[in-house]
Amino acid sequence: MNSKYEVTIGLEVHCEVMTTSKMFSSAPNNYNETANENICEVDMGFPGILPVANMEAVKKSIMMAMALNCKLPEYMYFDRKNYYYPDLPKGYQITQSTEPVGVNGYINVYVNDEVKKIDIHDIHLEEDTASLDHYETYSLIDYNRCSVPLLETVTEPCIHSADEALAFLDSLRRIFLYTKISEARTDRGQMRCDVNISLAPVGSDKLGTKVEMKNINSFSNVKDAILYEIKRQSEILDEGGTIIMETRRYDDSTGKTYRMREKVEGVDYKYYVEPNIPPYKITDELISELKSKIPMLQFERINKYITEYDLSLYDASILTKNIETALYFEDVISKNIDPKIAANWINTRILGHVNKEEISINDCTFKTDDLVELIGYINKGTISTKQAKDVFYKCLDENKKPSVVIKENNMEQITDTNEILNVIKEVIEENMELALSYDPERGRTVDFFVGQIMKKTRGKANPKAAMDLIKEELLKLKK
């Protein structure tokens, strides 16, 4: 990357809100492959329709605004954004312009191992538009998406690299998932991103000319698009050229961006207050009700895990990727299990399994109680760490409890001193000569006897107990 230029990036992230019905109609809001099934007269803008604001979406938007540390308005109300395009059958989009549900917010994110504060300009609730496919002589319109509730999060131009952009997008997505406000699936277009990017010479106090890239539908594409634009714009500037203010489209098949249109004077959307939706008072009661529904989010959890449980940033990040895993972890350690051991088990074995099977940790048959039990057996010395792995996989394969697997496979170690002593007596008698020649300075004799004990007990004797006891018995012979 060219270091002569400082990169400035602002993101506009659209995320569909998970609700039963659409933002302003009673049509269902769910993913539907069949075009034009999730529609009703309101979405289609037929004469005489009126919007009815979806309270579930309104509440979720207030919750998201709080999660992003935004300032809330006193009243929730909507504006009309007027423009003609068939993806918008009413001829206007109902959105929020004068008084968004949240302004002046921020979130902290980890970029690699550093904390970066990303400022949020605003977050507003609006309705999604229909999707259009253009062909040579005709266009097809699918109105399923039309009027699906959409939250648009707009950052300040405070992002300075593709990594920072990605870290923000990932954190934002985690918040949507933690709070269950959205499923935030990029593969279904539920989360889409516009990127504004400009380059200016390092040290310049003015921002460079802004280029906008619209509707990028995956995080890796956002990264590639940013990297490509940095390269493209750097080259132009290096050659003494000027950047044109324009809107570009990222093509993931070529990895390049292409000009869509030059940005002449901003379009005048003639915003005005939507008259059919009365202002809705955001009361203190509502705020505290919604606040109580926001769980501790990823960033705070990471920090808690690092400071309170002494975990590494790496482990803490993995454990907190989704709330289900974090809650699994917290449930395990609440039962007196060492956090590091729990983290190790979850991050390697359990998540390994969950990821391979592509299931949620909640659907994993190996429940928190099973892990607590299993780690307990290790701690008690009932089984070795190596055995524990086998028990774990057997539990998964056979859908059984660890105790059952251990019993069925006769894996329980012999820890009873008398039982081990009986075996020791036998092996000493069988190898009396060697026993008598025992020299505490040379460990090989002990190793041999331990080996014999293991052989006789088919490996079930607790190795440490066997070692301690044989040493004792051999010393007794010396006296």
Binding site: L50, P51, Y84, K90, G91, D268, Y272, P275, N276
Partner: protein, 495 residues
């Protein structure tokens, strides 16, 4: 005399007593509609077949005062399976697949829709002359207009085709044609009746209301139509009052006011004519009658500049909202679709062909008003004027139960009359004050109160927000001092 010429109350009891059947009533109503159609042009569509089949299904509907009563509804209401054009070419072939809430409610009552009535194109206009199927004529005098925009609905009641009809009122679109047609025209408190299915003109000013031939008939219709509608967020919760059962003529001690400047002859020195003189005299007489009834009537001062700003504020707000509200009319999803090489061209051509010049002029105005650089000066300032007027009215309604004023300074104009000077005091003060009711969402009613040159004139009464019952009681009492209840064009009376 036909039962059709009677008031709703009378017809309903005649139906119950078996003096007449709904079928006969509906048939006669349709016959009249067809007979008068060429003369007055009240209808875009006469729904004869549907009406006759619906009347046969009436047994299934439980008893209520509107059961079996024929009615007409303005063609800007969505009616399932029935052409709904808003009297515009842009919707000339549009057949909706859903009913407006008021249509559903009337269906449930067993009222029989006999036709969709003509309006000024998209409800924008006050003459009844701009509908795509032609001009509506005043049943009192074919050389005169009936006013608009609910022209056909007014004419249908005035000519005795139906005992009641449904209209919409954004500035005075029910109350002005009611005045010119000599019938009762009422719009309730904003939100009292759901707007779902009414083709939006200016959402913050639009009201659903009705035409009848008596005040008590309004109460019956309001009972049937009022209430919260989950499809309209601005609709009010039901007040659980029966308006028809609670009407009373006992108004002793109630206080009325009128705005001095609006009826002050001094303001009309240059334009005074015999008609206005008669109307003002009539108004003086009404004040006297009111006082005799026990009302306290007072003249109040109201900032004249504000009054003169009603019309420009109304035009500014309504054109702006109309431009946005009618942006759905593109020919893409419904309505006639024009040819074009691109989506943009299809929309452009559909709209160019579908709207008349008058409508386009309103849209150009509306766009201009909403433009970023003009919004503050035009749209938002108009909103401020509106707020100042509403605040003043709200203040007055704390002290008074109602405001009375002449509904118009003239009788229905002839088609040939010179266009009125829209900057004159006479126009700004006398012809626009009823928009106050729309600005504040105040309930407002016009009742016939006299004849001047054999043409009807009307009295407008407006009350405070949610005071619909108080308003109807005032109107009910005043109506009783005159002899125009049940009036049909030509002076036929049911009593």
């Amino acid at each position: 005399m036909s039962y059709l010429d009677k008031t709703l109350e009378e017809i309903s009891s005649a139906l119950k007593n078996g003096e007449v059947t709904s079928e006969d009533l509906v048939k006669e109503s349709i016959d009249r509609a067809k007979k008068y159609q060429e003369k007055y042009n009240s209808f875009v569509t006469i729904t004869e077949d549907k009406a006759l089949s619906q009347v046969k299904e009436l047994d299934k509907i439980s008893d209520n005062p509107l059961k079996g009563i024929p009615y007409a509804i303005k063609d800007n209401f969505s009616t399932k399976g029935i052409l709904s054009t808003a009297s515009s070419n842009i919707l000339k072939d549009y057949v909706p697949f859903f009913n407006a809430t008021v249509v559903d409610k009337l269906n449930n009552c067993g009222s029989i829709m006999i036709g969709k009535s003509v309006l000024d194109e998209l409800a924008m206009g006050g003459t009844g002359t701009t509908g795509h199927t032609g001009t509506v004529k005043n049943p009192w005098d074919e050389k005169r207009l009936i006013g608009g925009s609910s022209a056909g609905s007014a004419a249908a009641v005035a000519s005795g085709i139906v005992p009641f009809s449904i209209g919409s009122d954004t500035g005075d679109s029910i109350r002005k044609p009611a005045c010119y047609g000599g019938v009762v025209g009422y719009k309730p408190t904003y939100g009292r009746i759901s707007r779902f299915g009414l083709f939006a003109f200016a959402s913050s000013l639009d009201h659903v209301g009705c035409f009848t031939r008596s005040v008590s008939d309004v109460a019956y219709i309001l009972d049937a139509l009022k209430g919260r509608d989950e499809k309209d967020m601005t609709s009010l919760p039901d007040d659980n009052i029966s308006y028809s059962k609670n009407l009373t003529k006992d108004v002793k001690g109630k206080k009325l006011f009128y705005i001095k400047d609006i009826v002050d002859r001094e303001n009309y020195k240059d334009s005074m004519d015999e008609e206005l003189d008669e109307i003002l005299k009539n108004f003086d007489g009404i004040i006297k009658n009111c006082e005799d009834l026990g009302f306290v009537v007072e003249a109040v001062d109201f900032n004249k500049e504000l009054l003169k700003a009603i019309f420009p504020a109304y035009i500014t707000i309504s054109c702006a909202e109309a431009t946005s509200n009618n942006s759905n009319l593109t020919g893409i999803i419904f309505g006639p679709r024009a040819q074009g090489k691109s989506i943009d061209e299809v929309m452009f051509n559909s709209r160019t062909q579908g709207f008349s010049e008058l409508i386009k002029r309103r849209f150009v105005l509306g766009s201009y008003i909403l433009q970023k650089e003009n919004q503050e000066r035009l749209f938002l300032n108009a909103g401020r004027v509106r707020r100042l007027i509403v605040e003043k009215m709200t203040e007055l309604f704390k002290k008074y139960d109602g405001m009375i004023l002449p509904a118009s300074g003239s009788v229905a104009p002839t088609f040939k009359s010179e266009t009125i000077d829209k900057l004159s005091d006479r126009y700004l003060l006398l012809e626009n004050h009823m928009a106050i009711g729309n600005f504040g969402g105040f309930p407002s009613i016009t009742i016939p109160c006299g004849l001047v040159n054999n043409m009807p004139i009307g009295l407008n009464i407006t009350s405070g927000i949610k005071k619909d019952l108080e308003l109807l009681n005032i109107a009910y009492a005043i109506e009783d001092t005159m002899n125009y209840k049940g009036q049909i064009a030509g002076g036929v009376k049911s009593e």
